[in-house]
């Protein structure tokens, strides 16, 4: 369902070309659970950005459900994200001026709906049914990430991308998040691709892709 082929990304930095990703290729089947691991600066986050269509590769291609991202313009990719991709960030990235429920509603509203009912249901599912009217600042880190998870799943995405989802949480809270993600993956059949440093989280994945220096150095599913 997600496929990338010969992905490369170079940046211009101080007049020199900096090669961050070199010739990355892999494919993830529907319902898969993949962890991308590797040291700092190995290109993990850049790869995630390319898979989500947040950034354009210097060369190579990405297909999502058979759709070549290169064929879409900026707004087309935004619509693709709205309809098929969920996001979880290391720093939660809840919109601070919206309540928990309103944060969860955003993807549904973007699709033209209202989503108040669905949002409440999703919050209950992550154990925050009674916190919907709270602002992010009134929630703990773990609670914020649970809201972020609810938001990521609100549009029933085919693919969930996560960037260090437990990176800003203590081990115990992180465990709760991992459990939730695994459960949602199982129940809804959502494909999970996450970038992580967390060995516990990586261990829960069914497949691990290891990056170093912008290249795939190991792929447990290949």
């Amino acid at each position: 369902m997600l496929k990338c082929e010969s992905l490369s990304r170079t940046y211009l930095s101080g007049g020199r070309e900096l090669s961050v990703l070199k010739d990355i290729s892999f494919e993830v089947e529907p319902g898969g659970f993949v962890a991308i691991v590797g040291p700092s600066g190995s290109g993990k986050t850049t790869l995630l950005g390319l898979l989500a269509g947040l950034d354009r590769p210097s060369s190579g291609r990405v297909w999502l459900d058979g759709q070549d991202l290169a064929d879409l313009d900026e707004d087309g990719r935004a619509r693709l994200r709205r309809d098929r991709i969920g996001f979880v960030f290391q720093s939660f990235q809840l919109i601070p001026t919206l309540t928990a429920r309103e944060n969860v509603q955003v993807p549904l509203e973007l699709a033209g709906g209202d989503g108040a009912g669905a949002a409440t249901e999703l919050l209950e599912r992550v154990g925050l049914g009674d916190r919907g009217h709270h602002y992010p600042a009134q929630l703990s880190g773990g609670e914020q990430q649970r809201v972020a998870l609810a938001r990521a799943f609100s549009n029933r995405p085919r693919l969930l991308l996560a960037d260090e989802p437990t990176g800003n949480l203590d081990a115990e809270t992180g465990g709760v998040i991992i459990d939730l993600m695994a459960e949602l993956n199982r129940q809804l059949g959502t494909t999970l691709v996450l970038v992580t440093h967390d060995p516990d989280l990586a261990a829960r994945a069914r497949r691990t892709i290891r990056l170093a220096g912008g290249r795939v150095v190991a792929d447990s599913g290949a």
Binding site: L54, R79, I85, I95, E109
Partner: protein
């Protein structure tokens, strides 16, 4: 697929939580809208009042006015218009009033005062009412030698109702005072309070002898008032040849509206300036806002919002806040409007009732909304370029955004908006363009100054200066500096206020210059030639210095460059009934003099002053603006009609005249030799220091020479100053809104970089800088910003003020009050430093980390 529900809901939710921070935007718009609504509502009220009271102002359907006694032909015409032809006079539909200036004297109190006498015959006014105290005084005025007077006259003379009032040789009993006098404005009534007497005793006064200036008016009530304009149109050409002006209520209203509109337009411009300044405030508020919203925008993009949707969210939000500000401003404006009639009291010819003007309110709200949206548009464009990737990595903020092709259309739209708004406010495309160009020019110069400062500092910042100063000044050119934003906002505000101040100062100064310690302050008018030696002796007895006497010879133009005036006026090249633009100059009565020297208030600009009378035609010197009107130059011939005798003359020189100086100034000066034998009166000037002695002098003079009127120039000066004070108070009041907005803009401009300043300050503190050092760094930076902005602004204002004085107020002299300008500079610098340091408050006292967490 644009999901309008999402856009509206998100816009609402986002502003709900940011209320306090967006207060700046709302406030900036509200101030300008308040000023606009107040002044435009007031103008509407004024117009309504003039319309309602116009008929009472004229007192009749038609008025006919002439400087000469009305000819039997004109009187017959008046009678036939009023339907009185053949009937006994006075007939019920016509009235005659003769106006002239004279000295009034109350024997009981020995008070003397120059007054404007109106000798009334017939049932004037036909419309409106002369309210007198007691009420019966006006209807019973005609019964005997009675006078109804302005209460101010009684105060000035220490007199009361029942006293005898002497006018020339006649005596009248004061039977009442005027409670309202429609159409009477400031200056005229202050120079000479009004005195009404029955016309049949006019001759008894003996005051209307040769050379006396009097205005004869006839008032007509028509059976069909609606036909007034048609009647006026029909008889105007004929009356013109008789030198009689005919006026209707509608024309009167139009003229009055035009005169009032000028002041209203100027105040409206001042209000518009406040609104535009507010627009700059909106711009900087939006810049700050977006900087705080980068994460949110990136996340929204990650979640699948398109760039257009996110842009729409924030544009809707800005417009919504603009609307809120506009509504708030409209409410304030309606309140302020109540204060304006009181502020302009004594300057308005009609009673103005303050009532909300729905159209003015709607216009103000619309303009506020428009300005907020347009000024938000430009910075909001950046929203579209926030990469969704920024949600994953902060570093993305720093990568330079690509050049946005929409910038120029947006900037063009903004410029067009400014022009359009000005046109809407002042109703003139030319003024709109000039105004917008001036604003654009000022902004360009300010921006250039900021740019130059940044360049100069980067290159020449002295390495030997103390660390804190170098650090503070270096902040002005570091990346993401606030130099341009603050200099533009601050400088623009200071520029506007400085210009207003300079214009006002120069207008006042021009008038104040007349009050020198050795200048004459009493003007003796209508002195007959045979009285001159007696008056000179009389002045000498009292130890008073005499200036003059200056001879005055009344005359008209008979022909210019060989063409008769009547031919020029009747030129068939024009539309029938219309007149050339210089008709007034051709037709007016000139009061010319003759002398062999130039006086202090005039300057030769062309030709040469005469040596001796030479040639067959007399040499004359013409005031330069009049020469332009008459289209004559050096050597051209003008033939004058001096009391029926034609006198050919030749233009020998042109003069520039300072009319603002209270001295006998003349359009035309003759070389000695030509006019000595012509019928003439004399004007003499003298100076009496003590106000009490001045009063006694006038009284004794009036007793001895009843036909001579004295004008107390210090009184005139005081009255002019009072009026100018009123106007400048109104202008300053409106400028207050600009000042308030300017302060908000300053806060906004400094806030644009507050976050960065705080991060830097915290970093410095972390690295071991003392509080004192951090404080000094900020001080250096804001001191430099304030100095640059205010100096450039004051320089610009000096230029703009000069331009206005030179081309708009037509005043060649220009004063730059250095201490006052220095005070403006000091004020702006002080304000900048204060707001700047206030914005770094908290950083100094608390632990660095706590500050960082909070922000």
């Amino acid at each position: 697929m644009t999901a309008p529900g999402f856009v509206l809901r998100t816009a609402w939710r986002e502003s709900r939580a940011e209320g306090r921070r967006l207060g700046l935007l709302v406030g900036a718009v509200a101030m300008g809208v308040a000023a606009l609504v107040a002044i435009n509502s007031f103008t509407t009220n004024l117009r309504d009042s003039v319309r309602q009271q116009a008929r009472a102002l004229l007192g009749a359907d038609l008025s006919l006015t002439s400087r000469r006694p009305l000819s039997p032909r004109v009187e017959a015409l008046v009678d036939s218009l009023g339907g009185c032809a053949g009937s006994e006079t006075p007939c019920g539909a016509t009235a005659f009033v003769t106006d002239f200036a004279a000295m009034a004297y109350v024997p009981r109190t020995t008070g003397t005062r120059l007054v404007n006498v109106s000798a009334v015959a017939g049932p004037y006014p036909f419309y409106g009412e002369m309210l007198t105290l007691p009420r019966a005084a006006w209807p019973e005025l005609q019964r005997d030698r009675r006078a109804v007077v302005d209460p101010a006259l009684l105060t000035a003379l220490g007199a009361r109702v029942g006293d005898t009032l002497a006018l020339g040789e006649a005596r009248f009993v004061v039977t009442g005072t005027l409670e309202n006098l429609a159409g009477e404005v400031g200056l005229r009534s202050a120079i000479g309070p009004r005195v009404f007497i029955p016309a049949r005793y006019l001759d008894e006064t003996g005051l209307l002898g040769f050379g006396a200036r009097a205005e004869r008016q006839a008032f007509v009530r028509l059976d069909d008032p609606g036909s007034a304009d048609a009647v006026a149109k029909r008889y105007r050409p004929e009356l013109r040849t008789e030198r009689v002006r005919i006026r209707t209520v509608a024309e009167d209203e139009e003229d009055l509206n035009e005169a009032l509109a000028r002041l209203a337009r100027f105040l409206g411009l001042v209000a518009l300036v406040a609104l535009l300044l507010g627009g700059i405030g909106v711009g900087s508020a939006v810049v700050v806002f977006i900087r705080r919203k980068l994460d949110t925008i990136a996340v929204l993009r990650c979640l699948g919002a398109t760039a257009g949707q996110v842009f729409a969210v924030y544009l809707v939000q800005a417009a919504g806040l603009g609307l809120a500000g506009s509504l708030l401003g409209a409410a304030i404006g309606v309140g302020v409007q109540q204060a304006l009639p009181a502020l302009l009291e004594g300057m308005l010819p009609v009673d103005v009732a303050a009532a909300p003007a729905p159209r003015a309110i709607a216009l103000g709200v619309g303009m506020g909304l428009w300005v907020a949206t347009m000024f938000a548009l430009l910075p909001l464009l950046a929203v579209r370029l926030v990469p969704p990737l920024a949600a994953l990595r902060r570093a993305c903020e720093r990568t330079a955004a690509p050049r946005d092709a929409w910038r120029w259309p947006a900037a063009g739209l903004l410029a067009a908006s400014v022009v359009l708004l000005t046109i809407v406010e002042v109703g003139s495309a030319r003024t709109g363009a000039v105004f917008a160009a001036a604003i654009g020019g000022a902004l360009a110069v300010l921006w250039l100054a900021a740019w130059l400062l940044v360049r100069a500092l980067r290159r020449w910042l002295p390495a030997g200066w103390p660390y804190v100063w170098r650090q503070g000044l270096a902040n002005l050119f570091r990346p993401a500096n606030q130099t341009a934003a603050v200099v533009l906002a601050l400088g623009f505000g200071a520029f506007l206020l400085g210009t207003l101040f300079l214009v006002q100062h120069n207008l006042l100064r021009g008038l104040a210059a007349t009050g020198g310690p050795q200048r004459p302050n009493l003007l003796l008018l209508d002195v007959q030639t045979d009285q001159a030696p007696a008056i000179a002796g009389w002045l000498r007895e009292r130890g008073l210095r005499e200036r003059g006497p200056v001879p005055i010879v009344p005359m008209r133009i008979a022909s210019v460059k060989g063409r008769r005036v009547s031919d020029i006026l009747a030129d068939t090249a024009r539309a029938p009934g219309s007149e050339p633009a210089n008709a007034w100059a051709l037709r007016r009565e000139y009061r010319s003099t003759y002398r062999d020297t130039l006086v202090a208030s005039e300057e030769l600009v062309a030709g040469s002053w005469w040596r001796a009378a030479d040639g067959p035609s007399a040499a004359i010197s013409v005031e330069q603006d009049l020469a332009r009107e008459l289209r004559v130059g050096l050597g051209d011939e003008i033939v004058w009609d001096v009391q029926g005798v034609e006198l050919p003359t030749r233009v020998a020189s042109l003069r520039a005249v300072e009319w603002a100086r209270f001295e006998p100034n003349f359009f035309v000066v003759f070389a000695p030799g030509a006019l000595e034998q012509a019928p003439q009166t004399l004007v003499t000037l003298t100076r009496v220091e003590d106000p009490g002695a001045r009063g006694r002098f006038q009284r004794e003079l009036a007793e001895r020479f009843p036909n001579v009127t004295t004008l107390d120039l210090s009184l005139v000066q005081r009255e002019i100053e009072r009026i100018v004070d009123r106007v400048s108070l109104a202008i300053r009041f409106m400028a207050l809104f600009s000042l308030a907005t300017g302060a908000l803009v300053l806060v906004g401009a400094i806030a644009t970089t507050r976050l960065q300043r705080i991060r830097e300050a915290v970093l410095l503190r972390t690295l071991g800088a003392t509080r004192r050092q951090v404080f000094r760094i900020a001080l250096a930076e804001y001191l430099a910003l304030g100095l640059l902005a205010s100096l450039v602004a004051v320089g610009l204002a000096t230029g703009a003020g000069w331009g206005l004085a030179r081309f708009f107020f037509d005043d060649a002299r220009y004063w730059v009050p250095v201490p006052a300008l220095a005070a403006i500079v000091a004020g702006v610098v002080g304000l900048t430093v204060l707001v700047g340091l206030w914005s770094t408050r908290g950083v100094l006292d608390r632990a660095p980390l706590a500050v960082l967490r909070e922000e």
